[in-house]
């Protein structure tokens, strides 16, 4: 068997480990990723919709809907790979034992990515179904695209988490990463308001991998596909997934191997 497949098989065992631990506290683990979008839809969607006219011929709730999928993906991937990974690495010393088995640092990192990617895909699908049932998706078939887009978007979001894990000196420093990187990326991403008529803002957000994921989710939800748009946003997201993913592998290896 090729080296790649062996690594993949070992990475899958890391995924299984995470799942076994995750399901122990299933409700506590899944709550925030479901509650956040639900509360946001209620407060902003239901609450503000009546006061806001239509945006791109959509009600504000419909405008907001794909962003909720993006929200659950971002927070699932980032928090798992930042706080979650850091705790496993530092406080629980999980890898000290794991790395004495045939699993190496590459498999640990791949395992994390597969794990958050699957979780994000499932959450994206779940949130998508709820949105479709609430009739907030002009294109209900988008429900089938959400897991795909969410699964890819989870990689750069998770990679940012892993990179943060490799740079922070203690667990409190994640708050800085959140405040100065994740929060701006989240609030200025086109989820809450259209960026179209703000050229400077629009230029800046192009560097954010999250923005491109949001754009793809919106295209799917609103049925506003353009081949050039798909090509561009998907391309940038994939480039980010590969480069940030590779960078985080190098960084985590430095942390785990002396």
């Amino acid at each position: 068997m090729s080296d790649f497949l062996v690594s993949l098989r070992l990475a899958w065992r890391v995924v299984v480990r995470n799942w076994v631990v995750y399901r122990k506290d299933f409700l506590a683990n899944i709550s925030p990723t479901l509650a956040d979008p639900a509360l946001m839809m209620t407060a902003l969607g239901m609450g503000l919709s009546p006061y806001i006219g239509s945006i791109h011929d959509l009600t504000y709730s419909q405008y907001l809907a794909p962003g909720m999928v993006a929200t659950t993906v971002l927070f699932t991937a980032f928090f798992e790979c930042s706080y979650g990974f850091y705790v496993r690495m530092t406080f629980e010393s999980v890898f000290k034992a794991m790395l004495t088995t045939p699993i190496g640092t590459r498999e640990v990192v791949w395992g994390e990515f597969i794990w958050v990617s699957i979780r994000a895909a499932l959450m994206a699908g779940g949130v998508g179904i709820v949105l479709a049932l609430l009739r907030l998706l002009p294109n209900p078939w988008a429900v089938f695209l959400f897991p795909l887009i969410g699964g890819i978007l989870a990689i750069p979001c998770g990679a940012i988490g892993l990179l943060a894990s490799s740079y922070v000196r203690n667990i409190n420093q994640f708050q800085t990463v959140y405040s100065f990187l994740i929060a701006p990326m989240y609030f200025i991403s086109g989820i809450f308001f259209p960026l179209g008529d703000r050229p400077i803002l629009k230029a800046i957000v192009q560097v954010s991998p999250f923005f491109h994921g949001v754009s793809l989710l919106q295209m799917a939800a609103w049925n506003q596909f353009s081949p050039a748009g798909i090509f561009y946003h998907l391309g940038v997201m994939l480039v980010y997934a590969l480069t940030l993913g590779y960078w985080s592998l190098i960084r985590i290896r430095k942390k785990l191997v002396n």
């Binding site: 062996v6 070992l10 480990r17 076994v20 010393s93 004495t100 045939p102 190496g104």
Partner: protein
């Protein structure tokens, strides 16, 4: 260079060096561990023991020297090496939320163990943990956790067992149980590499020990050889306030030193100590053959350096 025929030697290290920036953690360490042998790495905290162990399975990248584990270089073939070893790390690193059985199943999966269920049951029974199979790790005592860490290391029936301070902090009963397991494992023809701070443990388990200090091997040999060479004879231990009464009767060839507020005299023969008792009228607290701890303290115990 290491020749091809040595490829079945579990551990073959030649001049292994590890630097962290300017700090030299390990300097030219050479050692071999053959099948059926137990080799001990002794030395103060920070002497480089765990660093060397990390080098064996690729969790530490050595800076220099030649290192082969089953003929494979850990820098390139860590995975294939790790398929053949079992490690008891310093920290147990068990998944606290999971049960005993869940933990072991996961690790059996990591190791690719076939027929894992039977193997786990066997080993749990062997370590007297079978009644705890559904208990959460956090509910286990320190000794149970350590025994479970041994179970985990033995799941794949490894050819080389690496123990990093296996009995630190354990009560004597557990310690004896674990020693018994290690000895029978060695007897079964497997190789064992152990680090420890307990000299009694090293004497009991090891065919050969290497004493490290500041990353350098300061003594190599069987415990018996080292005692013969470094601190031969018998040690009498006395109350410190008897020092004056004893000193006038001491032979200049004997060594004397103070340890834990007790005055100690080491003489070549037990008869010398008995004669000393008669001549000085001072009764010893204890008279015993010199042991590995005497060697260790002589070679490393002079100063508590920066590595403490």
């Amino acid at each position: 260079m290491i020749s091809y025929s040595t490829s079945t030697i579990p551990v073959d290290a030649c001049g292994v060096t590890k630097r962290f920036g300017d700090f030299v953690a390990l300097e030219g360490l050479s050692l071999t561990v053959h099948s059926g042998q137990c080799v001990g790495l002794l030395g103060p905290n920070g002497a480089g023991k765990s660093t060397f162990i990390g080098c064996l399975y690729g969790s530490v990248e050595r800076s220099g020297g030649d290192l082969r584990v089953f003929g494979l270089d850990p820098a390139r073939d860590a995975r294939r090496i790790k398929e053949r070893i079992g490690v008891v790390p310093q920290e147990n690193a068990l998944d606290e939320e999971l049960t005993v059985l869940e933990n072991m199943r996961l690790y059996a999966r990591f190791q690719g163990v076939t027929n894992a269920y039977r193997r786990i049951e066997e080993l749990l029974e062997d370590m007297s943990l079978e009644h705890k199979r559904d208990a959460q790790i956090r509910s286990l005592s320190g000794g149970m956790k350590r025994r479970l860490t041994f179970v985990r290391a033995l799941l794949s029936d490894p050819e080389l067992l690496i123990l990093d301070e296996p009995t630190t902090g354990l009560d004597p009963t557990v310690r004896h149980l674990l020693w018994d397991k290690v000895l029978s494992y060695r007897q079964a023809g497997k190789a064992v590499l152990v680090t420890t701070h307990y000299m009694h443990e090293a004497e009991l388990l090891c065919d050969r020990v290497i004493i490290l200090n500041h990353g350098v091997a300061v003594a190599v040999g069987s415990p018996k050889e080292l005692i013969e060479k470094e601190t031969p004879g018998f040690v009498g231990i006395y109350e410190t306030d008897q020092t004056g009464a004893l000193k006038i009767h001491l032979d200049p060839g004997w060594s004397c030193f103070t340890q834990a507020r007790q005055f100690c005299v080491r003489a070549p023969q037990i008869q010398h100590l008995i004669a000393l008792q008669t001549a000085s009228g001072v009764t010893a607290i204890q008279m015993r053959p010199a042991n590995l701890e005497d060697v260790y303290l002589k070679l490393t115990g002079e100063e508590l350096g920066e590595n403490e």
